[in-house]
């Protein structure tokens, strides 16, 4: 089972490399979206610094939604998803492996970019790193919940927007805790409560979401 998990992660990473255009474009969306807010809100550093955690988190959330709409789509079209469903390995493990690979190509680059983008918002280094830490714990949860949505909307018309409609409300706790952690860090308060709540969300999602994704994949393929 571990061998299959690793095989899928390696395989999906190889595929993402071949299709790096689409991986990079969701990253680019994140960068552009972050640059839009100062243009809309005005360049005043104090205001931007106060808003930075929230803005960066929302941009990360939206960028994740965009990249999630390509999860499973190609595999569904060329029949490889069918082959995965025919594998004797538990489908939940397969779903978790694909979600993991997806996070490595979407969530991880996002949080690596965040300290750089935080500079645009005059966020000091300490809070910026804590913001990245909150994204480190939070973006896997986004990928896990999003995978359920991606499986439910597989092959459905209006798929990408529908995915956002379904998944965004479910991600609000992660947004609240994640942005809250970064804001607390900037205010000099303890981030432990928010981060532990995020951690609890991650633990719950790791357990439940692959099962829900597996069920949804079977339903989508029936």
């Amino acid at each position: 089972m571990a061998q299959a998990f690793l095989a899928i992660v390696r395989h999906d990473l190889a595929l993402a490399w071949r299709r790096r255009g689409s991986v990079l474009s969701s990253l680019l969306f994140f960068i552009i979206a972050c640059s839009l807010f100062p243009l809309a809100l005005g360049p005043e550093p104090q205001q931007l610094r106060a808003l930075a955690p929230g803005i960066l988190w929302v941009a990360a959330l939206l960028a994740s939604m965009l990249s999630l709409s390509r999860l499973f789509v190609q595999e569904h079209a060329d029949g490889s998803l069918e082959q995965l469903l025919l594998s004797p390995h538990p489908l939940a493990v397969i779903a978790l492996a694909k979600t993991c690979a997806h996070w490595l190509t979407s969530g991880l680059p996002l949080l690596l970019l965040t300290p750089l983008l935080a500079q645009q918002y005059s966020l000091p280094a300490g809070p910026a790193l804590l913001l990245s830490l909150s994204l480190l714990i939070g973006t896997p949860v986004l990928s896990l919940i999003g995978a359920v949505g991606a499986a439910l909307t597989l092959g459905v018309r209006g798929g990408a927007v529908l995915l956002c409609i379904l998944v965004l409300p479910l991600c609000t706790p992660v947004l609240i805790f994640g942005a809250g952690a970064a804001a607390a860090a900037d205010a000099g308060m303890s981030v432990l409560p928010q981060l532990s709540l995020l951690g609890a969300c991650l633990a719950l999602a790791l357990f439940l979401c692959p099962l829900a994704t597996a069920a949804s994949l079977r339903i989508a393929m029936e």
Binding site: I165, L166, L170, T172, I176, G180, L197, A215, I219, A220
Partner: protein, 264 residues
Amino acid sequence: MSRPFAQQPTFDTSPARHGGSRWLAYASPVRFYPLAGRMAPWFFAAAALAAIAGLWVGFFVAPTDAQQGEVYRIIFIHVPAAWMSMFIYLVMAMYCAMALVLRTRLSSMMASALAPTGALFTAIALISGALWGEPTWGTWWVWDARLTSELLLLFLYLGFIALESAIDEPRRAERACAVLALVGTVNLPVIYFSVQWWNTLHQGASVSLTAAPSMARTMLVGMLLMTLACWMYAIAVALVRVRCLLRERGLAGVVDRQTNGEGA
């Protein structure tokens, strides 16, 4: 080789074989259709009576509040609607769980029938909240924990309805929505908790529509009557809607002139 689907009941419909459980026979769509038709008018009547009683208590019997004056009376609509919106979601989720585990079509159709009513109550809660907020706080919207949770609940309902209408194949739509509803149910406590937490963190918790005046007994009676009215209404409307869904999917055992009983 195609026999009309309506002629093949999902369950064995003879009550005798179920021993003591005569009710299980009604899990058959064909049997449920006429039963729902007979039950609905009674629930509508009950709803109307409870509503009249509740509104009378709420608007005429309950005393005027010292702080908020007459405006607080909107609580008799706002709170029952909010309670029902949450209750209906849980009932929906229960039907969805039954649909996934037992693979019964009627359960998922009950869930689909309840969703628009749940969304309606959520909307009523939000609108009545706004109507309460304006004279009280001077703004039409207040990021109160309850209102924010209701807003997110509305999104969950709308997502359910959107997913159902986006998937063409009825059986796939039912099962996909069932998974969505269950995921939403697990998420709901987390959402409520996080919104509560967010609310207390960001403001002094003084702005709260749930800071209801200390409940005089009549006020509580009024709210309970209105809640009962909403509940009866929800059941009645769900029964009517489920009959429509049964006919649409050709499971009602009724031959429609247009579809010739061949079903969707």
